[in-house]
Amino acid sequence: MSGSYGAHPRPVGGVELCAWLFMRISGVALLLLALGHLFIMHVLNSVHTIDYEFVAGRYAGTFWRGYDLTMLWLAMVHGVNGLRTLADDYLRPPVRGMAVKGLYAIGSLFLLLGTWVIIAFQPVSGRGLP
């Protein structure tokens, strides 16, 4: 067994150690944020009660926007870095490099889209709303 429980030993320093630490710290934060999100949205509420009006009410203040924004950034960076680990294990150069670049590009694009929506969303009044 290597220094870490997974297939990879704990990095000794540099960017890789930062990434290793980030996965663990963001992991604990996401445990609370993501499971909390699932519990609120899919147990206390459900897709049967979630609609435009629900989201508009939820995003009337800044708290849930901040919650969602924190969760989005941590989850995306955690997920993309996790997939990079898989690319390291299962792909060989030059495919690996291209895959990781593509992954970064797509991840950044979705992260920007999500961030923009959470910050810019302003509910429309009237049409479609009771």
């Binding site: 067994m1 220094g3 870490s4 429980y5 997974g6 297939a7 704990r10 663990r24 992991g27 604990v28 996401l30 445990l31 993501a34 499971l35 699932l38 519990f39 899919h42 147990v43 459900s46 897709v47 049967h48 979630i50 609609d51 435009y52 009006e53 989201v55 989005l72 989850a75 995306m76 997920g79 993309v80 996790g82 997939l83 898989l86 294990d89 299962y90 797509i106 979705f110 889209l113 999500g114 929506v117 810019a120 969303f121 429309v124 049409r127 479609g128 709303l129």
Partner: protein, 118 residues
């Protein structure tokens, strides 16, 4: 390349990777569906209504299972990482983890099934 040495640890680790990729895939989809909110109620409500189909309700329960497993298994990884001595108990830790998983998953799945089939 990765070496497979067998045992519970191997399967726990493969499941960690599979659930991780599945949750990331859903995150991409979820960013797209939520982004529709910016286009107004017609678009958003139309697409969210699709999630009310029972098949998506079942997938939603699967998503919860994936997140819960990944979270609990991640905690076990962290415990071993920062407390190497615990590695000799990793099988017992996995049993505890799966007991916790079952204790949380079953009531939550029951409640979520109530939403899927009211």
């Amino acid at each position: 390349m990765t070496l497979y040495k067998g045992g519970i640890g191997q399967w726990a680790w493969i499941a960690h990777r599979v659930t991780g990729v599945a949750v990331l895939l859903f995150l991409f989809i979820h960013i797209l569906d939520t982004a529709l909110i910016i286009l107004g109620p017609d678009w958003y409500n139309k697409v969210i209504a699709v999630y009310r189909w029972p098949i998506f309700g079942m997938l939603e329960i699967g998503l919860f299972a994936a997140v819960l497993y990944h979270a609990l298994n991640g905690v076990r990884i962290i415990l071993v990482d920062f407390w190497m001595a615990s590695i000799q108990y990793h099988k017992q830790m996995f049993v505890v983890q799966m007991v916790l998983f079952t204790l949380v998953f079953l009531p939550v799945a029951w409640l979520m099934l109530g939403h899927v089939f009211p």
